[in-house]
C-alpha cells in the first residue's frame, strides 16, 4: 500500500484546520472596483440611467415631429411653399426703408 494513501491521524491538526475562518471581508467598495473592471473589459453592460432614457425619448419625439411636419408639407404640395419662398427672396433683395410686398 502506498504510504501516501493513508494520511497520519492528527486530531489536533484537523481540529485547528477546521477552526480556520472560511471567509474574509473584502475592502469597502470592492464590488464597485470589480464592476468597473468588468465594464472596461466589456463583460457587463452599463445599466440604463434615467437621464439617458429621457434624452433618448426626447430625440425620438423630435424625430417623430420632424417626420410628421415633412409628411404634412409633402401632402400640401409645393404651391403652398412657393409664397413663403418668394417672400423670403423679396426680403433678402429689398433695400432698407423700402416697403416689402406682402403676398
Amino acid at each position: 500500500m502506498n504510504p501516501h494513501d493513508r494520511e497520519p491521524d492528527d486530531p489536533d491538526l484537523d481540529a485547528a484546520l477546521s477552526q480556520l475562518s472560511r471567509t474574509m471581508a473584502p475592502s469597502e467598495g470592492y464590488a464597485d472596483r470589480v464592476l468597473g473592471e468588468l465594464r472596461t473589459h466589456g463583460v457587463t453592460r452599463p445599466a440604463p440611467r434615467p437621464a439617458r432614457m429621457l434624452i433618448a425619448a426626447a430625440w425620438f419625439l423630435a424625430g417623430v415631429g420632424t417626420g410628421a411636419a415633412a409628411l404634412s408639407m409633402m401632402r400640401k404640395g409645393p404651391t403652398d411653399v412657393a409664397p413663403m419662398v418668394a417672400a423670403a427672396a423679396d426680403i433678402a433683395t429689398s433695400t432698407p426703408g423700402e416697403p416689402v410686398q406682402w403676398y
Partner: protein, 193 residues
Amino acid sequence: MPIHRPFAQADDIEVIDAFRQGRSEAAARELIERHSPRLLRTVARVLGEHSGDAEDVLQEGWVRGLAAIPQYRGEAAFPTWMTRIALRCALDYLRRHNRAPLLSLDEARTVATPPIDRELTTDIEHALTRLSPHARSVVVLHDIEGWTHAEIGEELSIAVGTSKAHLFHARRKLRALLAHERPRRASPTEETA
C-alpha cells in the same frame, strides 16, 4: 446610500440566468457581493505571504469567470466553479512573479519567526505560508474547502497520488512547524529570562 440589490433573494442559478440574458451589472454585483468573502479567503491562503494581492487576483478571477459564464453548465455549484477560476488566477500570479519558493523544513526552522498572534489559528495561517504553492493549495482545497483528491488532481493537473503525496508531506510539515511554534508560546518567560 444603500445599494439596491434586486437579486438578493434569488438563488445563484437565477442570478446567473439574469446575467446571461442582459449581462446586467446588478446580477454581476450580486454574485460578487455574495461569493467574494469566501473566494477571497481561499485566494489569500493560496497566495501565502503575498495575500495582500488577494483582492487584485480575485478581481482578475471575476473578470475571467463572468466572461466565461456562457460556458458554465451548472455541473458544479457556482462557488466551486468560481473557486477553480480564482485558484488558477492565484497560481498564475505566483508563476508570473516566481514567488513563494519551497522552504525545506530545516530552512523553515532556522528562519527567525517574528512573535505574532498567539492564537493557534494564527500559527496555522503562518505555517501555511511556509508551504510551497502547490502543497498549500492542496491543504487549503482538501482540508479546508473539502475537495476530493480527484477534484484537486484535475484542477491542478496532477495525479491523484501526487495530490495525496503533497497533502501527506504538507501536513507533516505543518505539524513540525506548529510543534516548533507551540513550545515558544508555551514558555515565553523561559525565552525572555
